[in-house]
Point group: C4
Chain length 226, copies 4
């Protein structure tokens, strides 16, 4: 089932591996089939150089249970499923441990928009989730990661800022498709790297103006996008 989506998801995972955003078997990208109520995701622990579409795992969009596949789904799958349920317009989710974005997550700081490269991709600061409580870590941990992300986006449009930093953990990104989620992961790492390099020059940088942020974001994503 869902052979085409498996192909797309597999290819997106391989694109993630080629991007240098993940090391070893880390990282995962998934895609959703909303009509059938299924999520297709990466199997756990398979090396990228041996990954094939038929190894992708199909889980239920309703409760995350495996519907098809011999291997275990990526451990982060419950977080992906939660995001598909919380953000109704998204079609793909990616999780990486890319160095600079993860550093901001470990620093527990949102990434402020400091320039037009940020504004070209994200319509505001990259949000940071709260820390999980002890009970949330002990039980349904991966699902709760999805929950704190959804909670953080209560008043943010997910398609305006297609990325989040999970505190002490790392970034999740998303888009209309699995490939777009990978692009958002690469954009996020670039933006995080620029922000870190900016701090090296000026420890107290000033955020860009709202007008400039809107201008660049809307030039690419707004109604008058080219």
């Amino acid at each position: 089932m869902l052979e085409e989506l498996k192909q797309i998801v597999c290819e997106a995972n391989l694109a993630l591996a080629r991007s240098g955003l993940v090391a070893g078997t880390f990282g995962n990208v998934s895609g959703v089939d909303r009509d059938g109520g299924h999520v297709v995701t990466k199997p756990s622990g398979v090396a990228y150089d041996r990954m094939r579409p038929e190894q992708m795992i199909v889980v239920s969009l309703e409760d995350g249970r495996v519907v098809e596949g011999d291997l275990c789904p990526s451990g982060d799958t419950p977080a992906h499923v939660k995001l598909y349920r919380a953000f109704e317009e998204i079609g793909g989710v990616a999780h990486t441990r890319s160095v600079c974005a993860t550093a901001w997550a470990q620093a527990r700081r949102e990434i402020p928009p400091l320039g037009t490269t940020h504004a070209d991709a994200f319509h505001g600061p990259i949000p940071l989730t709260r820390l999980l409580h002890t009970g949330e870590i002990a039980k349904d941990y991966e699902l709760n990661i999805g929950r704190v992300i959804a909670e953080r986006f209560a008043e943010i449009e997910p398609m305006q800022i297609q990325a989040v930093l999970v505190a002490d953990h790392g970034p999740f990104t998303w888009g209309y498709s699995p490939q777009e989620a990978v692009t958002a992961a690469a954009d996020l790492e670039q933006v995080a790297r620029l922000a870190s390099e900016t701090l090296r020059v000026e420890p107290y940088p000033v955020m860009m103006s709202r007008e400039l942020l809107d201008k660049h974001y809307n030039r690419r994503h707004g109604e008058d996008a080219r």
Copy 2:
């Protein structure tokens, strides 16, 4: 028309891509034909690995309107055109988002000349533009980027310092030819990287002496250049 210049501009854009100074479809290099009153520039959104000379766009040096070409010109074209009009001796302009130079632009700090590598390429600090006003962002934004650059160079010789940092945005560079503009972009990134690494060792570095700056700059660019 202008087949030779299209070839040169296309090759300069490909050289920019190979240099690692740009990611994705970012970045652009243009060239000018002053006799005919035309600027040749990169089309918007074409991947570097599929870029061909015949795709280059010809616009008017007078008002930036498209004269020839099926695709849209790079969004930054009005800034390029403004620079050709303001700096009469230049033949090529490049725009990148190279990491270290962009970090200084986001930090809103000029790059001070800290050593001979800087002085070999640039005859003074790399200037920073002022921020654009709200009205300048709202209307004719890309043209106004060119304007604040020209304004910043009111008392600087553009061929003495072939680079600028646009605040909260990134670098523009130029030269007698499109290829020289690319070389200036690479020199700028190297100089910015060295300055950032210097700050890591010594947060309050002292600028090099005027004598040493002049010596190195003139050794390469002055009348007694070798």
Copy 3:
């Protein structure tokens, strides 16, 4: 003798070279044959691109003396032998000068667990040894490096934290096999790099919670590991 272990040790050294964790002829990986009481290690000063299994050196687990091999064993061999004697469950040891981990060793600071990437690999801070005394440097220096590592792990389970920073020197890592020691060296460098990048964003980062550290470590290494 021990042809299979020589093959494994040689391959692990080549994997170390490919990983980018060592430069030139630096770095070494060894393996132990506990039944026979032997350690197999890398010869000193042989370039990685000419290294062959039959060049590996066999030394005694009891006193470190050469049992077989024409070349000199790596100078760090006495430290390796000491670790095999101190940590009875380990099967391989690796020593690198990987940049970020060595920087923490030179800074004489333990690497605090700042996020889940750390917790996936190490069950607590990466310990730092004390400095060696003058007498320990003058006599049996390499053996004493092994001794201060063993001393530092008096109350730490070596298989819970498979890495140490030797003050003013660099990291040692270990595992059930030589290949696992190399994996630990790569994990350590990644964790050190993330910690350094985190300091750049937030000079006083807060350690992750014990619950989150345990959760991630046990998810991979505990009884309920997947």
Copy 4:
């Protein structure tokens, strides 16, 4: 004349280019023939990928004048010649603008020995020259670079510390042969990079003990070297 030395010097320059320590046509390595009183050096402005032994330039060890060669010698040649005259045991000199070493030169700070990687290569801090006076910049500039280096080494054995930082400029290194000078340049960059990374973790690092410095240096370079 000196065909063998030209081959060696050309190969050392190509090794420098492959090492990543130089960009563009920057950098140069020379060698000396003390019996004949000649220095063989790189021509100025020749791209590394087109460099051939027969293009090397022969200059006089006495006064630096060109003895053989159609192209101009590298502009830094007077500094090289001065070093060969000041340091009688050396056989090769290299000059780079490698990023981390140049950053320390721009920061006007000596590189303190912070760990055993430093001590394996250099027997003490990497010295920094004083700044040149105005008159020294105006006349015989390149020769005066050699002079301030020699001055700085009045009480240092050049073969104990085969590197120097010229303030606001960059590093020079040397060795018994041109190839050794290149190796010293690579060692210096590694040591500078480790020192910069250490500062990132600990802004006020403590220098390693004299005993540990001597131990590591003498283990490689002393009478009991292996």
